[in-house]
């Protein structure tokens, strides 16, 4: 339901016709170009919608962007050029996959950092504990003395917790 509240909010903003996503009249005659346009569309955000790509969205703006992408492809732009064109026009917000730059550094580095950090912590912990276990196996001089005392039958200390 939560998603639908989001979606309905988007729909409420847009209103208008409810045709879904790519329309028959938008499709390019060039099949390879159309396939590229679809791939690019999935990485571009419909900016008036909530978290929808222009490939999924039925908003008029998404339609304009889809047509724009196809125009650039028809004009011979490479994929990178199309993306640059759209970012120049609409800002980084239009990209659903943010570029790797200073302000997104933490975003991109978080997964490997957490994985590496977690792995490192586990490794250190396991080493420390196995060393502690080795140490625990050997009796300390104190324990040795206490054991001798116990064996000698002079039980003076209460037994500590199991």
């Amino acid at each position: 339901m939560r998603r639908f509240l989001a979606v309905l909010f988007a729909l409420a903003l847009i209103g208008g016709p409810s045709a879904r996503a790519v329309q028959p009249d938008e499709i390019m005659t060039d099949a390879a170009g159309e396939a590229r346009a679809r791939d690019l569309s999935r990485e571009l955000r419909c900016m008036v919608c909530q978290n929808q790509s222009i490939d999924d969205s039925d908003a008029p703006l998404a339609r304009d962007l889809r047509i724009l992408v196809r125009e650039r492809i028809a004009a011979g732009d490479s994929n990178a050029q199309v993306m640059d064109f759209l970012v120049a026009r609409y800002g980084e917000f239009v990209l659903l996959k943010p570029r790797f730059e200073l302000q997104t550094l933490l975003l991109w580095l978080m997964p490997p950092l957490v994985l590496a950090g977690g792995g490192l912590a586990l490794w250190i912990n396991s080493r420390r504990r196995s060393r502690a276990a080795d140490a625990a196996l050997a009796l300390t001089p104190d324990e040795e003395a206490r054991l001798n005392k116990l064996l000698a039958g002079s039980l003076s200390e209460p037994p500590s917790g199991a």
Partner: protein, 660 residues
């Protein structure tokens, strides 16, 4: 009158929750059994009043009492009865009331089934439950009261949003909330353990069934929501990496990790501190999800700033509980004794690996969901983080995890034999390679990723079956012995096998749907034929009719294959007059696990209609997988050692449990 009674019941529930928050804690301090027992009766009373408030709101919706704002804004007298009921939680106020009602339900269940808990533990657990409940009762009463009246009652309501007028609304939110809120129990147990400074294997044994119940509901709730989106939204997508979905995925990932770490704690008395932390984190993520969805912060930071009452209130609750519990954890965790040593290659080691990857996956979703918000608040820069980011970061994390899944149950506790496990997984490995080669040969020229992923999924599924074969001795022993061993196998072993196999099944569906999905988009006139994936779909004609609260236009398609007529499909579009909105009712034709999917677009002046037809190979496996997982959870829940509320030592006579 009913509205006022509901309101009053809610106030009484708050009063009882406040008593339940304080008296049992005091009782535990003074070691007074009478005071500690107050927890039980007040939890039951609280459940009674929360249920009464909820029943009152349902009654108001069913009787279409438009003098109540909530009913006026979300209902319509002509709406079918089922949507009048489900409309209760199809809005902010009602869904929060459902949330606290479920919280009260879980509190009541602990009170009922918790008779064999140590008295002080039960007192603490129920008190912590009541802290959460008090905060949310206050939230509802102060900012989101569903029982407010209108001075001049209108004659007709504004109707429920048409997208929500679907059977999905009857099932999805209650399931999801049972999951979210169910994790409050493990949270309360964790806080109680920290307060008491005592935690042992019995603790894990009490916590695991509750976590399992929550996890089962959350799994089904997420899967149900995904299928609902798939057929209702009309473009055949089933997961959008929307922040609202991520809000439910994060507790699921953390909860899955918790299930596994609690297992280690229960069996080997190890990972105590980590299990406590995960219990806290899992419910914190549930609270975070509630905050994200309920505060409006996702729509835009500015919308949040313009009407901050609700958002700030939940943010306060969030900070109080997360901050408070983590502070308590930091202060008390070191007092918990670590136990149970194990080698890195062991069952424990495998479960730790599982936790590492699930936690990282959860952190990835977390950072991807909140980064744009944080960046905008801090620097004003607006960026988007969407599906392409998550596919790129989340996917690779699951790859090593899935490779490790079949190994886990094959390894022994304390010190495992990796080579031995690999030998026992030989069949699974061979099956995976064969399938990989077949798929690759069949789809020559395609990407190598899809066959690889399918091979991995087959490895997981066959690996899960191998585990059962190994345990029962099938093919190694006489059939009668194997059958006997099958009967004696603990249910939890079956549960593990089903849950792990479900993971592989879902992966097959995901890979097939995304890789070999084909579509046909065109404007069609009556008698036009569309050809897709070997099917011919003929548009027979268009017709329209009047429904209870909408007008509907239906297109009739005849589907045939190789000239043989298979079925009729009738996608439609509905226009809801009250809200001037329309919905697409997609038509689905199921063939095996694959589906044909038709949704309608706009009509043109010449009587033609825009049509989108998809063929989605093996798409149903995407949801069959989670259903298998939930079934596995249910099997595990019915294991005699975990029966809810019965953590007694198994009788020696019936002790057919595996020697572990």
């Amino acid at each position: 009158m009913i509205a006022e009674s509901g309101h009053y019941a809610l106030v009484l529930a708050l009063a009882l929750a406040l008593i339940q928050s304080t008296v049992p804690v005091l009782g535990a301090r003074l070691r007074d059994p009478a005071l500690m027992s107050v927890a039980r009766s007040s939890a039951l009373g609280q459940l009674l009043f929360a249920a009464a408030a909820f029943a009152a709101l349902v009654t108001l919706h069913v009787t279409s009492d438009f003098s109540v704002v909530n009913v006026f804004e979300n209902s319509h007298s002509l709406k079918p009865l089922i949507y009048k009921i489900t409309g209760v939680w199809g809005n902010h106020e009602g869904s929060m009331l459902l949330w606290v009602s479920i919280l009260a339900l879980f509190g009541g269940l602990v009170a009922i089934f918790g008779n064999n808990l140590p008295l002080s533990l039960r007192a603490h657990v129920l008190a912590v439950q009541a802290w959460i409940a008090s905060a949310f009762y206050l939230f509802i009463l102060m900012t989101s009261n569903p029982f407010l009246r209108i001075a001049n009652p209108p004659l007709e309501g504004r109707d429920l949003n048409p997208i929500l007028q679907d059977i999905g609304l009857a099932v999805h939110p209650p399931m999801l909330y049972l999951g979210y809120v169910g994790f409050s129990i493990s949270f309360s147990f964790a806080i109680a353990a920290l307060l008491e400074g005592r935690i042992d294997a019995a603790w894990a044994r009490w916590v695991r069934p509750w976590t399992l119940v929550a996890w089962i509901f959350l799994t089904l709730g997420i899967a149900m929501g995904s299928y609902w989106a798939y057929y209702e939204l009309g473009w055949g997508g089933w997961w959008f990496w929307d922040p609202v979905e991520n809000a439910s995925l994060m507790p699921w990932l953390a909860g899955t990790a918790l299930l596994h770490s609690a297992l280690v704690m229960e069996k080997r008395n190890a990972l105590k501190v980590w299990t406590i932390l995960l219990s806290i984190l899992t419910f914190s993520l549930s609270l975070l999800g509630t905050f994200l969805v309920r505060s409006g912060v996702l729509t835009s930071v500015h919308a949040f700033a313009t009407d901050p009452t609700r958002g700030v209130f939940i943010l306060l609750i969030l900070c109080l509980f997360i901050g408070g519990s983590l502070t308590l954890f930091a202060g008390r965790a070191s007092t918990l004794k670590q136990g149970g040593l194990f080698a890195p290659i062991s069952r424990e080691g495998a479960l730790v690996l599982n936790n590492l990857f699930l936690t990282t996956a959860c952190a990835t979703v977390f950072v991807g969901t909140l980064y744009p918000l944080a960046l905008e608040v801090l620097t004003g820069a607006k960026i988007s983080v969407g599906a392409p980011f998550f596919n790129l970061t989340f996917g690779p994390l699951f790859f090593p995890l899935l490779v490790a899944v079949p190994f886990g149950p094959m390894l022994a506790w304390k010190r495992g034999d990796l080579l031995g496990a690999a030998q026992r997984l030989l069949a699974a490995g061979v099956a995976a390679l064969v399938v990989m080669a077949l798929v690759w040969a069949w789809t020559r020229g395609g990407s190598a990723l899809a066959p690889l992923a399918i091979g991995l999924a087959v490895f997981v599924v066959v690996g899960a079956i191998s585990e059962l074969v190994e345990r029962t001795g099938l093919f190694r022993m006489p059939l009668a012995t194997a059958m006997q061993r099958t009967r004696g196998l603990p249910r939890s072993v079956w549960g593990t096998a089903f849950a792990h196999a479900g993971l592989g099944v879902a992966l097959i569906g995901i890979v097939c749907e995304t890789t070999w999905n084909s579509e046909y988009i065109a404007t069609m006139r009556p008698d036009d034929v569309a050809r897709l994936a070997g099917y011919e779909l003929k548009l027979d004609g268009l017709s329209s009719r009047q429904g209870p609260n909408f007008r509907e236009m239906t297109a009739a398609f005849t589907v045939s294959r190789d000239g043989e007529r298979l079925a009729a499909m009738t996608p439609s579009k509905r226009n809801f007059t009250t809200r001037a909105m329309s919905t697409t009712e997609a038509a689905l034709l199921t063939r095996g696990f694959s589906q044909l999917y038709i949704s309608l677009g706009d009509t043109t002046a010449e009587g033609a209609i825009a049509v989108r037809i998809y063929h989605k190979p093996l798409v149903l496996l995407i949801w069959l997988g989670p259903v298998l997982m939930a079934f596995g959870g249910l099997m595990s829940l019915s294991d005699r050692r975990l029966r809810v509320g019965a953590p007694k030592p198994a009788k020696a006579l019936r002790g057919l449990q595996a020697a572990e």
